[in-house]
């Protein structure tokens, strides 16, 4: 017989208690009054030979009860073999979470991480479920628990290993918290086996370089499941690293925007051995351009450097930090902004300084939108409309009826991909629209307005109104219209109402014509017609019309794995050439492009026009100083401490013993027997108890 908790046997020493009490003369319950105790001293209780002979049976019962209790607490069991069914064997669930962020590209970190993962897989029991997760900016499942459970025990490890081998480090940032939260939740919710009596240990093995730049925010609001333990496998590595990052572009006083000075930050880790670096401009073919800039950044500090781009650089180029041994975050890619150069054609007869006319406001609207190098050209309606091609004239604004020849020109312009905005300043323009679109002429009359009307039923999904979709921008109630033209487009094919006036009359409609798009505003923005020109929505709306054709809405400040919204006009197919040469095409309109999974220059081709955007490594990845593991523990994760093999062996032995003991449950019988003995003892003691009296011989 073996004992699970042998120290409890020491409790049997309590048997000495009853023996001692049997030997000690009983302390009398009664009390004797006496005049004075000044001549007396207390007598210690003494052992008497007579009392030892008393109540031997009672003594034996009491000793037996104590002995049985001590033995029961010691949890005895017999060592014998048990046949366990497959589902009765304890099966743990091990989720291996491996860091594939950009910082794992340093040195031999990645091969060591894979080796560590393989070792963890080998150490897992054959019956254990294994899951493989990787994470950078978000976790990914490569081998799920369900998949593992469906496999034969022998196949799990080999498949898990092959999945590990397929993994490669990415360029993303380290969002450690979110990964842990999702994996822990997966483990917690997963039911190990049908047999619920079998304990199932759930363990996350986290393999990472634990860099300081890891984002653990998600753990702040997460309650770590009590049944999931986190085993942290940190890969120690020389954290010497310097990083280069672009800062937001700000104009300082006295600085001209055209100076093209860029602000970059050079960071250096605390453990860094290097202090002297050089910033080198390289063109698209990696040729060095201009002169290098020397930068001295002491270890643990960072410096912001204003650096001027060489005039000769355009298109795609890069700034490289030279002097750092870890190169993964040393290159800053740039794609030069390509301003929407060209002109906007105004077709109307209003004077440029006529505050009652449309042109006056149109000119100011495009002045206000900086960044676009657009020129506003006014053209008389009777003159032929002059545009070289669609790219150079992205928008034509028509505010007055024009000639029939111009109708055809506009139609051609639209078909080739242009955008025409017809401002229906008067009812006669209805015929012009019909002429351009080739539809049946419809009657346009003045709308009935009592005092004023507002816009309603605005289609915020339309690219034109999409920037206003957010709650803080979608208030159009301050834009009042005094006059509008009532034009029923319901019978006209292809027209879509983007916004309506109160009462349901269309305010803004559009129609796809060829590759281009025709917009018709049934009112105007002159003070006689509406407050539109004076509202804050005016400029963004007009800019939206122009930018409809820009494939890249944001070209700077992109980090790896940031989604980018590529808005496209028409059904034009957009192809994206990734830095590694992969070609991706986006067919569905307005879907954000999310495969910005590597730093470099992305080339977006649409409509025979190429746009570039640059993607860089997340700045947090450069913070390679080691993260204090205690911080993870402080966030509530249940960490498994470092284990000594001997301790593990001992724990295993204890677990086996506990398993055997749990099956035999001898202690229950012992407790039951002890209770029976105690009942006998109580009965016997009550039978033998006799009232004692104190006898005083006076």
């Amino acid at each position: 017989m073996s004992l699970l908790t042998p120290l409890y046997v020491l409790g049997a020493l309590a048997i000495a208690g009853p023996i001692l009490f049997h030997l000690i003369r009983r302390r009398p319950q009664g009390e004797v009054r006496f005049s004075s105790l000044m001549f007396l001293k207390s007598t210690p209780p003494t052992l008497t030979r007579r009392s030892r002979l008393d109540q031997l049976l009672l003594l034996a019962l009491r000793a037996a009860a104590l002995g049985l209790l001590a033995l029961a607490f010691a949890r005895p069991f017999f060592r014998q073999a048990f046949e366990l069914g497959f589902d009765q064997v304890e099966r743990s669930q091990v989720a291996i979470v491996i860091d594939t962020s950009a910082s794992m590209r340093r040195g031999d970190l990645w091969p060591r991480a894979k080796q560590l993962a393989a070792k963890v897989i080998e150490e897992a029991g054959p019956n254990d479920d294994i899951a493989i997760y990787s994470f950078d900016h978000r976790p990914q499942v490569h081998f799920s628990l369900a998949e593992s459970a469906a496999l034969e025990p022998g196949q799990r490890q080999s498949l898990a290993k092959s999945r590990i081998n397929d993994l490669e480090p990415g360029w993303g940032s380290t969002v450690l918290g979110q990964a842990l939260v999702e994996v822990a939740a997966d483990l917690h919710e997963n039911i190990a086996s049908a047999n619920k009596e079998v304990q199932s240990a759930k363990r996350i093995v986290l393999i990472s370089d634990f860099q300081e730049g890891s984002n653990t925010n998600a753990l702040n609001t997460f309650e770590w499941p009590s049944d999931v333990e986190l085993d942290v496998k940190s890969i120690p590595f020389d954290s010497s690293n310097a990083g280069l990052h672009l800062l937001a572009k700000t104009l300082e006083s006295g600085e001209d925007e055209s100076s093209q000075a860029l602000r970059v930050r050079v960071t250096n880790s605390r453990e860094s051995k290097d202090e002297q670096f050089r910033l080198i401009w390289r063109d698209e073919d990696q040729r060095e351009v201009g002169y290098p800039t020397s930068v001295s950044v002491p270890a643990g500090e960072s410096r912001v450097i204003r650096i001027k781009k060489p005039e000769t650089l355009s298109g795609a180029f890069s700034l490289v930090l030279d002097g750092d041994s870890q190169t993964f975050d040393n290159t800053l890619h740039f794609a030069a902004e390509t301003p929407s150069s060209g002109s906007i054609l105004y077709v109307g007869s209003e004077a440029a300084n006529d505050v009652e006319g449309h042109l006056y406001y149109l000119a100011r609207a495009f002045e206000a939108s900086s960044g676009d190098q657009l020129e506003l050209k006014a053209s008389d309606p009777t003159d032929p409309i002059a545009f070289t091609n669609v790219r150079l004239t992205p928008l034509i604004v028509l505010v007055a009826p024009t000639t029939t020849s111009n109708h055809q020109l506009l139609s051609d312009y639209l078909t080739s991909g242009g955008t025409v905005l017809v401002v229906m300043a008067s009812a006669e323009l209805g015929a012009t629209v019909s002429a351009i679109t080739g539809d049946k002429a419809d009657v346009v009359r003045e709308g009935e307005v009592k005092t004023d009307v507002m816009l309603q039923e605005i289609d915020f999904k339309h690219p034109l109104f999409a920037p206003f979709a957010a709650a803080q921008y979608n208030d159009f109630t301050r834009v009042r219209f005094w006059r509008y033209r009532d034009w029923d487009v319901s019978q006209l094919p292809g027209f879509r109402v983007i916004a309506r006036f109160e009462g349901g009359d269309p305010a803004l409609v559009d129609k796809q014509i060829g590759k281009g798009r025709l917009y018709v505003l049934t009112s105007g923005w002159t003070p006689q017609d509406s407050q539109l020109a004076r509202s804050s929505k005016f400029v963004p709306l007009l800019s939206g019309l122009v930018n409809q054709r820009d494939s890249v809405s944001k070209i700077l400040g992109l980090e790896v794995m940031s989604p980018i919204l590529l808005s496209r006009e028409g059904s034009g197919r957009v192809t994206i050439l990734k830095p590694n040469g992969d070609l991706r095409s986006l067919s569905s309109n307005e879907a954000p492009f999310t495969e910005t999974d590597q730093p470099g220059i992305y080339r977006v081709n649409s409509d025979q026009r190429e746009q570039l955007f640059a993607v860089n490594v997340h700045p947090a990845e450069s913070r390679t100083d080691p993260l204090d593991i205690a911080e993870i523990e402080q966030l509530g994760c249940r960490l498994i401490g470092e284990t000594d093999p001997a301790v593990v062996q001992e724990q295993l032995r204890q677990m086996r013993n506990a398993e055997l003991e749990g099956r035999q449950n001898l202690w229950r019988w012992l407790i039951a027997f002890a209770i029976v003995v105690l009942i006998c003892e109580t009965w016997l003691a009550s039978r033998r108890a006799q009232p004692r009296s104190l006898e005083v011989v006076a």
Partner: protein, 329 residues
């Protein structure tokens, strides 16, 4: 009746004493019977009358409190004090000398503390002491002496100055019948207070169990004596206090200090007896040193014997007074 002292067989001082005592004890009243009489005055009367009846048959006839001595007449003596009856019998002139009859002021000092409330038998030491005080007061009153009473516990409780007037005895008895409050004993402080209270020289009869440290007792008794008082000491002791005849180990509760002690009498008895004897010896020696008559009274002893001892202590000339005792010292 049980033997007087179980542990210590009584040894009479002389053969004559023993004969007298035996004859007396035979006709005396058993204290147990006496204590059944509820009225303290009745008890006193029973004792005194029995004693007086017996005294006529006793060789101690003629003892009187007030009588002092005869002295042969010499010239210059006041002829008023010549005992003419004696002259008639003896044809010699004798001057009859008296203790100052009207000035015999006896104050009974009674200990009513908690330790006195102990009694192994049907009555306690305090019951016996009260009867003893009442008997003495009754006897002295019948002798036309002034009797006073002081009771004390940890301090003096009642003070009744010595008087001889109608109703005085009744007042005294009513004080004696009052149940004691049962506070701690502090023999030392009350004896000092007694010395300050009783300013006029007189007879002080102290009835107590004297369960207090000997040194303090010795100094206070000496103090009383030094103030010119005649002091007579009666120590009332329960027979069990002599013998410690308990059989079973038990928790002993000290009625005096309310302490508990676990005591196995079989083990503690010898030590107790030794200590008790030493204490008794010390007290007797102190009394002997100051010429104070000391009577050790077991409370199962007939009260007449106490009266006998008292009178005997008074009969002895001052300079030759010896310790009246029943022990075999």
């Amino acid at each position: 009746m049980k033997s007087l002292f179980r542990g210590r067989p009584e040894q009479p001082r002389s053969e004559g004493d023993a004969r007298t005592r035996n004859r007396h004890t035979a006709s005396m009243i058993d204290p147990q019977t006496l204590m059944r009489i509820k009225s303290l005055q009745a008890r006193a009367r029973v004792v005194v009358e029995g004693f007086v009846t017996g005294i006529h048959r006793s060789p101690y006839f003629g003892f009187s409190v007030e009588f002092s001595e005869y002295r042969q007449y010499s010239s210059g003596d006041d002829t008023r004090y010549i005992d003419w009856r004696l002259f008639a019998r003896s044809d010699r002139y004798f001057i009859k000398r008296f203790e100052d009859e009207t000035n015999l002021r006896c104050t009974i000092v009674l200990d009513t503390s908690r330790s006195m409330s102990y009694g192994s038998g049907a009555y306690s030491k305090i019951e016996y002491a009260r009867t003893m005080a009442a008997t003495l007061a009754y006897f002295l009153t019948t002798q036309r002496d002034a009797v006073g009473l002081i009771t004390f516990e940890d301090r003096v409780i009642d003070v009744l100055p010595p008087r001889h007037r109608p109703g005085h005895l009744r007042r005294m008895l009513s004080i004696l019948e009052r149940p004691p409050e049962g506070r701690n004993t502090d023999l030392i402080r009350p004896l000092e207070e007694v010395a300050l209270t009783v300013r006029k020289r007189g007879l002080l009869v102290i009835i107590s169990d004297f369960l207090a440290p000997i040194d303090a007792l010795r100094s206070r008794l000496g103090y009383l004596k030094s103030r010119g008082h005649d002091v007579v000491v009666f120590r009332t002791i329960d027979p069990v206090e002599f013998s410690f005849d308990f059989q079973t180990p038990a928790m002993f509760f000290d009625v005096e200090s309310e302490r508990d002690l676990y005591i196995d009498p079989a083990l503690a008895r010898e030590e107790y007896k030794k200590q008790f004897s030493e204490h008794s010896r010390g007290l007797e020696q102190a009394c002997a040193d100051f010429g104070i008559p000391f009577s050790l009274v077991s409370i199962d002893q007939p009260l007449e014997l106490v009266l006998f001892d008292f009178l005997k202590s008074r009969s002895t000339p001052l300079g030759r007074r010896t310790l009246v005792r029943r022990s075999n010292h």
